[in-house]
Symmetry: C2
Subunit: 397 residues, 2 copies
């Protein structure tokens, strides 16, 4: 079994939303296909994945560094012990050859797209959904089960109002969601509190509403928001300060009794270990949001989990950033706490497929082989373009 | 004054050397030119820089994200208060628009190449060498002065021997260098000690010889090397463990009395602040090696220096990674401790130009305007290609 061709394309996100820090109008995502010499139903078995959402496509790093290394490798050196599937850790080590330690940024997303495509490929070779394949690989229970999900949204829009926000969350409730997350920090505290009040009228109580500052606050602002939020009993208060300012997070955790969530902008096991060591997180209260699609894929995510569990955190405290099919299978397969969905935004990658049901705040992955990306309607034209060769983003072996 | 065109090209490093972790055979560097509508001597004033050495060219990030943002900006929004030069901080903020916090990796090098080209441009507009321009901008003494320099080399080669290593360092001594650095960790401890012994016969004593493990060791190895190195009184013991494993570094600093050097693989002020907070570094003994060319440029390097000085470190403890003309001017302009040179390797970027004299362990920058990259013979053909339009790496405004 060998990879005969690797294709990639950068796909722009649709729509224009903004959080406290960035606009997503110019964001792209790398969609990657690993085409093999194995066939199923007359077509080459192909592993598909993308580098989550929010950190740009990585065509340059994929084409200049990682895809050439992968295609230059001895195909046998990439095989798993069963000799019929690929070893994700070997593929990762291959695409990371001659990369120095540290500096875990854009390349972590490029590597992740390839590594996650290996999981899709392996699940298809085994003719099973990715969550079942992941569960077996990581020694987790394989019972398919609904996964807790919350609807993430509440971005700032050019003509925004609390009515628009309430309507947005009402729409998510009508889709079957019962927990929600909205942005804070893009407005002044008073206006954000009005937004939160409006959101609570839909959520019902604070335990069903999280807020996300996207790393915007300095210590003083983080503490001020914490004091204002504390009486509301919110589900969590996400990324108050710079993701690397562990001292700010530690000080907030001393001052704020509610749950704090962070980690989505840490892209390596070494960074996650520092978070656990220094950020004052409370193992039975706080929430960890590292995202495999931004962080070298599942191999590295497994290393992160090992650091967390060694420090007393249960994997049920993990809610990965990135509401999409890949992370749904990851959460289900690894028995994590739950996942997010962006039902309205970040198309064509955000949200799930018609094969997944959302009901009473739970989402159940479909049972099609792999991550089931082929069943997501918004993604289908991009996959067709990539796989039919109509796209410029091709690198032949 | 406005930028009319930005060009970039990825230039491969020549030769094949390896440290304990990576081979440089496939490494590239991004060479960037900011072409303006100002003329001197009949030619457009053009700022030139590159993203240091060792972390790959960044064509993808430059072309897809940063250059379009720069060319889309209102030219007036990029100007300094004098209205005749560019404001490096504004240029950096512009190329980083819509980039999320955290994840300081490849993009930090891409941004650095552009930001540093602004310093070259501004110095040329002021018709002065970059070190003088930098010194004024950062409120440092402007006396041109020789800068301490050491020769970095001692890599592992396919057919290596202690004789080859000794000959290599003898060659550096003949060029005027009196302090040296060699790699460790690519061989077993016994062999590395033999290499160090051979190097000491050239260096004279330990105070003139540093060793560099390139982040290879786990805690046990780092401590074992530390115990073996301690009696030698070496200049410093560089990057013993993973650059983000601050706890390893802290434990080593408790155990090892000699100087420890680290920081070259930390690419942001937030990471450097964590290093100072957590890594147990001793303000009057240890050495900091953050490299502006890998770290968003001089604007961010100034923020790093502010964190260091707030923690009691003197800037004379800073020896930036990357032995080349840009860092020579940075070290001279900011009154840092000294700089490195790779006289034999990393061409066409490593080392200095004939306008710079190396004598008795000191190097004096030339007095040509800017960084003087145009005077470096090995770089000249690449600059000619870039500026004459013969290169594919062009993005027109």
């Amino acid at each position: 079994m060998r990879i005969v061709e690797v294709r990639e394309v950068s796909v722009p996100l649709e729509g224009t939303v903004a959080n406290a820090v960035v606009s997503f109008a110019e964001h792209t995502v790398s969609l990657v296909a690993l085409i093999t010499d194995r066939k199923q139903r007359g077509k080459p078995v192909t592993g598909i994945a993308f580098n989550s959402i929010g950190r740009f496509g990585q065509s340059g790093i994929l084409r200049e560094r990682m895809i050439p290394r992968l295609l230059a490798a001895d195909p046998d050196s990439l095989l798993a012990a069963d000799a019929i599937s690929l070893d994700p850790a070997r593929v990762l080590a291959t695409v990371m050859r001659n990369e120095k330690p540290g500096g875990h940024g854009d390349r972590a997303g490029a590597a992740a797209a390839i590594e996650l495509a290996v999981w899709d490929l392996n699940a298809k070779l085994a003719d099973e959904p990715a969550h079942a394949h992941i569960a077996r690989a990581f020694g987790q229970p394989q019972t398919p089960r609904p996964v807790p999900v919350y609807a993430a949204g509440g971005y700032y829009y050019p003509d925004d109002s609390v009515e628009r926000l309430r309507d947005e969350l009402d729409g998510y409730r009508a889709l079957g969601f019962e927990a929600f997350k909205i942005k804070i920090g893009g407005a002044l505290l008073d206006e954000d509190l009005r937004r939160i009040d409006a959101a609570l009228t839909v959520a019902g109580d604070g335990a069903r509403l999280a807020v996300d500052a996207n790393g915007r606050f300095d210590l003083e602002q983080a503490l001020a928001y914490g004091q204002a939020l504390a009486p509301l009993g919110l589900r969590w208060y996400e990324e108050p300060g710079d993701p690397l300012d562990f001292e700010l997070n530690r000080a907030l955790c001393v001052d704020y009794d509610g749950a704090v969530a962070t980690g989505e902008n840490l892209f390596s096991a070494a960074d996650a270990r520092n978070l656990v060591r220094y950020a004052g997180l409370r193992a039975h209260r706080d929430v960890l949001q590292m995202d495999p699609g931004l962080s070298y894929g599942l191999t590295e995510y497994g290393r992160m989990l090992a650091h967390l569990e060694a420090a007393g955190f249960h994997r049920s405290r993990c809610f990965p950033h990135g509401g999409h099919l890949i992370n749904l299978h990851v959460v289900a397969g690894l028995s994590l706490g739950g996942c997010e969905a962006y039902p309205g935004v970040f198309q064509p990658f955000g949200g799930y497929s018609p094969r997944c049901t959302v009901e009473a705040g739970m989402v159940t992955p479909g049972d099609e082989p792999g991550f089931g990306l082929e069943w997501k309607e918004e993604l289908r034209p991009h996959l067709d373009g990539l796989l039919q060769g109509a796209t410029r983003g091709r690198v032949r072996s």
